[in-house]
């Protein structure tokens, strides 16, 4: 037994090493930001508009995403139709969709020359602009409406079918069902969903970079980039990073605190029939909501594919080398994420979530400040981007692996202890075989997130190379829209392919 006890300590040791690495990589830059920040009092006044816009767009995005998600989730919860499963799966797609690709699709639909404005033009209505606050919020709703829908849908499915049966036998009207069953559920689910979306939108960079415009529509993340790229004012960049740290950190803490679970008690797990909403009007309304939501999601992606196919032939060679760089970065950062996530999931899960509170631009600024005096930050761009991407995917991986690992410990931990399996043996023969599916899934997420990321690379990239999202942004900037569309399609395909590759790898011939 002595050997077992020793080896368990070793396993714990691995966890603490991972926690130490994560903490150093995230908190080191934060300390650097603190040291370098300009005097807050002098500068804050000039940044008030930036702070205000950051908050306003995040609040609007969260509110609209959640408000629009309620009817969609309700319709999905009480209707059965062909393709329902596909649609719900599709709701998960925006999570691994590269932001800049989505922006390109949204431009094709909502831009001045896009589908919607052409339709409005026929109807004689003034065209709407996609730039500024409305564009930023639109893109955020595009990304977060599906997320909110999934969260709320889970809430609906958490209400036992027996309750609805009881409501029906009591001859309750839809209004009463809403008041007694649905509203309490929504009340417990909505604040958490809204807070999560609010926190995500606070750190919005790529959307604000492409659809924001000028001082009126600048998020703090974007202002950090501008301080680097427009003024090369490191003091101001650090000061802004500090602001972002306070806001995003606060929001992340609040989101974790607000997300209170609800308890309706258990029911039989089956598709719920809803007697009170069998009326024709309600059916038509639900159908309309589902069609609209599906169009909102599918139309931009279709436009990306269509214009991308036309642009494939017009892509310069730089797009292919950028694709190579991006795949390389994605693979390396996925490895780092998985190693750290395995370590943290064992003993120190909470450290994995630190990346939610510290935004990529804050880490990027801090790393730049740390590296700049001693080495050329641009020469270290590749490892820096790999690391930041890995840290940003970590919360999701830890979230997936943590519960699975605890379940394995509960089921097999004592047996493994009795067999003296610990350390590497425990990892190799117990954890890895049983974790294969969740590991494949979270590696897929990490790879796709890294592939599509347009963030810190904008601070560190030299002029002679780029990642695929950055190359695409440069093409859009140089007004080579066809080539950009081709690159967008390539980026979309590679992101999905990487996700599929890892996720599938976790599923095939599982022998444990």
């Amino acid at each position: 037994m002595a050997r077992g006890a020793f080896a368990i300590t070793k396993g714990r040791f691995f966890g603490w090493v991972a926690a130490f690495v994560v903490a150093t990589l995230l908190l080191g830059p934060v300390v650097a930001v603190f040291v370098h920040a300009d005097s807050i009092n002098d500068e804050l006044t000039g940044e008030w508009a930036t702070v205000r816009f950051t908050l306003v767009q995040a609040i609007l995005s969260a509110f609209l995403s959640v408000a629009l998600a309620i009817p969609v989730a309700r319709a999905l919860a009480r209707r059965r139709f062909v393709g329902r499963g596909v649609l719900i799966t599709l709701l998960g797609a925006p999570f691994i969709l590269p932001v800049i690709v989505a922006v390109l699709g949204l431009l094709a639909v909502f831009g001045r020359g896009g589908v919607l404005n052409s339709a409005l033009g026929w109807a004689g209505v003034e065209p709407i602009s996609i730039y500024g606050l409305q564009g930023v919020v639109l893109a955020h709703v595009f990304f977060n409406l599906p997320l909110a829908t999934r969260i709320i849908l889970q809430g609906w499915q958490g209400i036992p079918g027996e309750r609805f049966r009881l409501a029906a036998s009591l001859d309750m009207a839809p209004r009463d069902v809403f008041r007694t069953l649905e509203w309490p559920m929504l009340w417990s689910v909505l604040p958490g969903a809204a807070m999560v979306i609010f926190a995500l939108c606070l750190s919005s960079f790529a959307v604000a970079l492409t659809l924001g415009g000028g001082p009126r529509a600048t998020t703090i993340e974007l202002a950090i980039y501008q301080a680097f790229r427009f003024d090369f004012d490191l003091g101001r960049a650090a000061m802004l990073a500090l602001l972002q740290l306070v806001l995003a950190g606060g929001a992340a803490a609040l989101a974790l605190w607000v997300a209170v679970p609800m308890g309706f008690g258990a029911g039989l797990d089956r598709v719920v029939r809803r007697w009170e909403s069998d009326g024709a009007t309600v059916r038509v309304l639900d159908g309309g909501v589902i069609v609209l939501a599906a169009l909102f999601l599918i139309l931009p992606l279709t436009m990306v594919v269509l214009s991308g196919l036309a642009g494939l032939a017009k892509m310069p060679a730089a797009v292919y080398s950028a694709a190579g760089v991006s795949v390389l970065i994605a693979l390396m950062s996925t490895c780092v994420t998985m190693v750290l996530a395995l370590g943290l999931a064992q003993r120190a899960e909470i450290w994995g979530y630190l990346g939610l509170a510290i935004s990529p631009m804050v880490v990027g600024t801090g790393l730049f400040l740390l590296i700049n005096p001693v080495a050329d930050p641009m020469a270290l761009a590749l490892p820096v981007i790999v690391m930041v991407n890995a840290l940003m995917a970590l919360p999701f991986s830890v979230r997936v692996l943590g519960p699975e690992l605890r379940a394995i410990e509960t089921d097999f931990g004592r047996l493994a202890d009795a067999l003296g399996m610990a350390g590497w043996a425990r990892m190799r023969w117990l954890y890895l075989p049983r974790l294969r599916r969740p590991m494949g899934f979270s590696a897929g997420l990490a790879a796709a997130l890294s592939m599509g990321d347009l963030g810190v690379v904008t601070l560190f990239a030299a002029t002679d190379w780029a990642t695929l999202p950055l190359q695409m942004y440069r093409l859009m900037g140089a007004y080579r829209m066809e080539a950009a569309a081709g690159a967008g399609l390539l980026l979309l395909a590679l992101s999905l392919l990487l996700f599929w590759f890892f996720d599938r790898g976790g599923r095939v011939d599982v022998d444990a």
């Binding site: 000039g46 508009a49 930036t50 816009f53 831009g111 001045r112 020359g113 602009s129 730039y131 500024g132 415009g213 000028g214 001082p215 009126r216 529509a217 600048t218 501008q226 680097f228 790229r229 427009f230 003024d231 090369f232 080398s321 190579g324 760089v325 390389l328 390396m332 050329d376 641009m378 020469a379 270290l380 590749l382 490892p383 030299a462 002029t463 002679d464 190379w465 440069r474 859009m476 900037g477 140089a478 007004y479 080579r480 829209m481």
Partner: protein, 332 residues
């Protein structure tokens, strides 16, 4: 670490030829685009220099300077091409630039000194022009004739960010030069006309062509491009009483490992071979009129009585305040 960088290097395949000396020139994006001067200039210079001329697009003009400050003495650039006189004082102050040691005779109207002379010790001009709002005549028949009229109208415009773009900076100084202490008010009045502010000229012009705005901040010579290159006579520049002038310049980095090649490039820049390319690719007036003359159909420049240009040394003292006014007015 090294092999990771090596892998990236192989993927990017930029550093292919080691034998021939490489001259790296940082410039703005539209200069290196397929239809810009970059490809022709590269071909022409490589014919005479037995070197490899590499243009690197690094955003718009003002972002070039930030990029250089960011890279500092480590920069790979030998020459920077695409700053303008609004940035030269600030750029010289960084100490990153070497003196060019040339005394060229140029055809740049010089509001500050003897016509034909060039006094800047660090930077040499390669072209010049006038900023103007460009519109589509078929969609906007009667464009505004002044900033006041523009502000009072419903006309939608796209402009560039003065922190990253030289035309954007020029516009900010244009308004500042005309309205002085009232510049902030003018920006406040213009705010509702501005659809969006882009980081560079390319983005803004692209949005205008896409139909996202009625007018775009560009140059009086932009319609010439559409007329000559595309045989499209629909574009025109809205004429105001006075237009801000832009003189685009290039300079040699002090830390260059190719000082002689850089000097040769700057000489080449003022020769016929380079200057002849400028009008119909960069759509600006060449700094030295080529011996073949200007291409047919190219509009003649505005007179000096219509030009506004702040002396380079006055810009740094004025920029911060003008920028603060600009940001305050446009962030409302």
């Amino acid at each position: 670490m090294k092999h990771l960088l090596f892998a990236a290097g192989v993927l990017c395949a930029t550093e292919a030829v080691a034998e021939t000396p490489v001259l790296t020139v940082y410039t703005y994006d539209s200069f290196v685009s397929d239809w810009g001067p970059g490809p022709s200039v590269e071909k022409a210079f490589e014919e005479v220099c037995s070197c490899d001329l590499q243009f690197v697009g690094a955003g718009d003009g003002a972002a070039l300077l930030a990029r250089l400050k960011l890279e500092g003495a480590r920069t790979k650039a030998d020459v920077v091409l695409g700053l303008d006189t609004s940035l030269t004082a600030q750029a010289a102050e960084t100490g990153l630039f070497a003196e060019h040691g040339q005394s060229p005779v140029v055809d740049v109207p010089n509001p500050f000194g003897e016509p034909g002379t060039w006094s800047d010790q660090h930077f040499l001009p390669y072209d010049w022009g006038f900023l103007a709002f460009v519109h589509d005549k078929t969609k906007l028949a009667e464009p505004p004739k002044s900033f006041e009229e523009l502000a009072a109208s419903e006309t939608k415009i796209v402009i560039q960010d003065p922190r990253s773009s030289t035309p954007g900076l020029g516009l900010m100084l244009w308004v500042k030069a005309l309205y002085g202490d009232k510049a902030g008010d003018m920006w406040g009045a213009l705010a509702d006309n501005i659809v969006t502010v882009t980081p560079g000229w390319s983005e803004a012009y692209g949005l205008f062509l896409e139909g996202e705005a009625d007018m775009v901040l560009s140059y009086t010579t932009s319609p010439d491009y559409h007329r000559i290159a595309e045989e499209d006579d629909s574009k025109a520049a809205a004429l105001f009483d006075r237009h801000y002038m832009q003189i685009e310049v290039a300079g040699k980095l002090a830390g260059t490992d190719q000082p002689e090649l850089a000097d040769r490039f700057l000489q080449f820049m003022l020769s016929d071979a380079f200057q002849g390319i400028i009008p119909t690719t960069n759509w600006m007036y060449p700094a030295v009129t080529p011996s073949t003359g200007m291409p047919e159909g190219f509009a003649s420049p505005l007179g000096q009585e219509q030009a506004v240009l702040l002396p380079p040394e006055d810009v740094p003292g004025m920029r911060d305040q003008a920028l603060a006014e600009w940001r305050a007015a446009l962030s409302q």
